[in-house]
Amino acid sequence: MAKILLEMKNITKTFPGVKALDNVNLQVEEGEIHALVGENGAGKSTLMNVLSGIYPYGTYEGDIIYNGQVCKFNNIKDSERLGIVIIHQELALVPEMTIGENMYLGNECGHKFAINWNKTYSEADKYLKMVGLEESSKIQVKTIGTGKQQLVEIAKALAKKAKLLILDEPTSSLNEEDSRALLDLMLSFKKQGMTMIIITHKLNEVSYVADKITVIRDGTTIETIDNHGKEPVSEERIIKGMVGREITNRFPKRENVKIGPIRMEVDHWTVHHPLYPERKVVDDVSLNVRQGEVVGIYGLMGAGRTELAMSIFGQSYGVNFSGELKIDGKPIKLRKSESDAIRHKIAYVTEDRKGNGLVLSQSIKVNTSLANLDAISKNTVIDGDKEYAVAEEYRDKLKIKTPSVEQLVGNLSGGNQQKVLLAKWMFAEPDILLLDEPTRGIDVGAKYEIYCIINDLAAAGKCVVLISSELPEVLGMSDRIYIMNEAKIIGEMKAEDATQENIMAAILRSGRGA
């Protein structure tokens, strides 16, 4: 049996109000590729942040034993000194700088006061060769594609003399070909004795490269599966571990479900990335929503769900749109305008309530009325009393817990903020609500209340599109489910036919078939 290089023992990490990790154990042998799988929010990234010292020693419980020694990392530098290097999901390269500058960023070689550029670039070239890049290290990072940028990240890690390399979803922004090249590169590193941990959602990649697979669910280790058998571990086997939680009564029952005619239709909808116009973020999507229906859109992060919703909402995201949007059978003229979308009674409730949903420095009252100021004003003069009354009404309706509607939204809890966000859009009186991760980051009680609101909206004849990366939520709430992966709709299921397993399987099939 090979030597255990890394052991994480009984790691428990608590954030205010949430236990992100609960007694997690992980053992990594020297020279193996260890895969870490689990749903979004299961705690994979938190675990790796503990390992790399982003959460310093003392903020978690349990031990990290590396090379036989108990480690007490205070920051990333401490863990990197021992050769533990993490490559994050979002590329952390500075586009304007050269490859060489990026590789030695914060780790500059040379004298304390003067960088030795000759050494920097010659060393950088050496590591670039190791990852199979022919480019000179003197060109700017922005001139190479994302696939190659990912390789630069790896070269950068090698330059830090990595012994244990952690790759957090390294292929999430790569196409099939680049992904395969990257995985093969990992296998060749393994031959040279490197130890690696890979976090990924793509289970086909897991069975391709991993020696062992550890499944994490809801902050605890479920199992570690050995991938050395004659047959590679089946994906169904991994999925079972990933989603195997029981669904109890977490969702309120839908009452008097009356599904009417189609209200909104999207036909062959294609949207391109605003910065990389050659990349499609929504690819030939067609879907429809009926009156009084809750339509779920499930997909992993980065599948293009948010991009789809935002592009429908007045083309507020993306460039080079094509396709058709019909409301009540009538095509809507394409225009880049959010107020246009609101006029057509579409609402987009963002997943990022703090970033682009609410004005935190303003009161509940101001936020509630924001999307429909005209309703409380006459000749553009706001009727302050009416505004107050509206805010009070929604505070009661949505049970927003606050002493006063004059309270600043920034002072509210996540669940209450989410309710204010919903209040804003309900006051705008839309017919079609695009809800993007409406329960992200809020506690179970508040989630239940939000679900009740969603059901009420549907019962009132609104069309609700529920976008979520939580499978149980989509299954528990929707009448119909679209499955989205890699910018495409890859499946449509009725709620009664859908199960966690067949949705996951559909996603995996599409990933492999591409």
Binding site: F313, G314, S316, E338, S339, A341, I342, Y348, T350, G355, N356, G357, L358, V359, L360, S361, Q362, V366, L370, A371, L373, D374, S377, T380, V381, I382, G384, D385, Y388, A389, S404, E406, K424
Partner: protein, 389 residues
């Protein structure tokens, strides 16, 4: 309604209290000189441009801490052009004013377009004006005058922007001014009490009787005091009407209208505003268009007061306007601040300036004091906000 603690009231009105204290300080130091009727007129005339530019700057800053560096230099250019129109060409006052306003609109449209639609960072877009307008203004002046300044402006122009309404001899009590003051004071009391009554009738939160009485009493007292002093100094300065008109209009816009609300939410969270259907570009455009128009009006008051257009007119005006806003509690990152706050900030700086010149403090030291007051005000503001958390 819960009772507000005294400390909360103090915190909320901190700058106002500082203003009163500074005023009392100079009252003692100048042995009452700052309370002379002429000091009141002086305070208003000297600072009219700060209030007007401060209002424009406030609208820019609300959109996200954006500033206009070019307004001081633009004052110089407009002043020079005004001199050419009125003095060299002999155009009538009315035509000249309209021409200057039109030039303001043209600059505002260009600037607003560059900032809102071409996405040039405001400080860079306005830096161009800052650098070039004074040069342009000075060259116009020297082309039209040997001394490099144009004077005097027509009497009708001066009466409009640096005159008196119903003028009387100094020392003779000016009844129209006093009666106007009484009317304004009555209006303040009326507005406060009717608002309260309406709110109570509809069952909403309202000020307590005591605080409403205190507010209206203090407001009315200050207005009557100021107007009584002005009555002894020849009557209402026309600048007061211009300033009061602009301040009232913009108070109303910022606090009561949808467009005013849009300025706040754009500064509070640009993305959230955009996704709520607010035309964020239009707001940015309007902020700078408005600033240019107000700069034209500020130019009138300044040129009328100095009775001439010269190369140095408008120097550092942009900084005065920004200071007034910042001291008045306007957030340097946008989304927060009121016209009333800016007025208090501008008055505070004005009182300090006037007080220092009354005790004939060296001009260089005056700058030192101003610099420190500005810093102290902002530090004080930030610290008091941190404690609230």
């Amino acid at each position: 309604m819960e009772k507000k603690s005294i400390s909360a009231i103090l915190k909320k009105n901190a700058m106002l209290i500082v203003l009163v204290l500074v005023y009392l300080f100079f009252l003692i130091l100048t042995k009452g000189g700052i309370f002379k009727p002429s000091s009141f007129t002086e305070l208003i005339n000297q600072n009219a441009y700060v209030y007007i530019l401060g209002t424009g700057m406030l609208m820019c800053m609300l959109t996200g801490g954006n500033i206009d560096l070019s307004c001081g230099a633009f004052v110089c250019l407009l002043g020079a052009l005004g001199g050419v129109f009125m003095i060299v060409q002999g155009l009538s006052t009315g035509v000249s004013i309209l021409l200057l306003l039109a030039i303001g609109v043209v600059y505002g449209v260009v600037l607003g377009f560059l900032i809102a639609y071409v996405h040039i960072p405001p400080w860079i877009a306005t830096l161009a004006g800052f650098l070039s307008f004074r040069g342009l203004g000075t060259s116009i002046l020297s082309a039209n005058s040997k001394t490099g300044s144009l004077a005097p402006f027509p009497v009708s122009f001066q009466n409009l922007f640096y005159g008196r309404v119903f003028p009387s001899e100094k020392g003779v009590f000016n009844w129209p001014c006093f009666i106007f003051g009484l009317l304004m004071a009555a209006l303040v009391v009326l507005v406060i009490f009717t608002t309260r009554k309406n709110r109570l009738a509809k069952g909403y939160e309202a000020d307590s009787m005591k605080s409403a009485a205190l507010k209206s009493g203090l407001g009315a007292a200050v207005i009557i005091l100021v107007m009584t002093r002005l009555s002894l100094d020849g009557g209402i300065p026309t600048t007061l009407l211009w300033v009061a008109g602009i301040v009232l209009i913009y108070s109303f816009i910022t606090s009561k209208t949808t467009i005013g609300r849009h300025f706040y939410v754009v500064g509070g969270n640009m993305e959230a505003a955009r996704l709520s259907g607010v035309n964020t570009r239009r707001i940015m455009f309007l902020a700078y268009l408005n600033m240019a128009i107000l700069t034209a009006i500020a130019t009138f008051t300044v040129v009328a007061r100095s009775q001439s257009a010269y190369a140095d007119v408008g120097k550092n005006f942009e900084m005065d306007a920004i200071s007034a806003c910042v001291v008045g509690g306007v957030s340097a990152s946008g989304g927060a601040g009121t016209v009333l706050g800016m007025v208090i900030g501008a008055t505070l700086i004005g009182v300090i300036n006037l007080g220092m010149s009354l005790i004939s403090l060296d001009a260089n030291y005056q700058r030192v004091v101003k610099g420190f007051v500005l810093l102290a005000a902002v530090v004080f503001d930030i610290l008091s906000k941190q404690k609230q958390k």
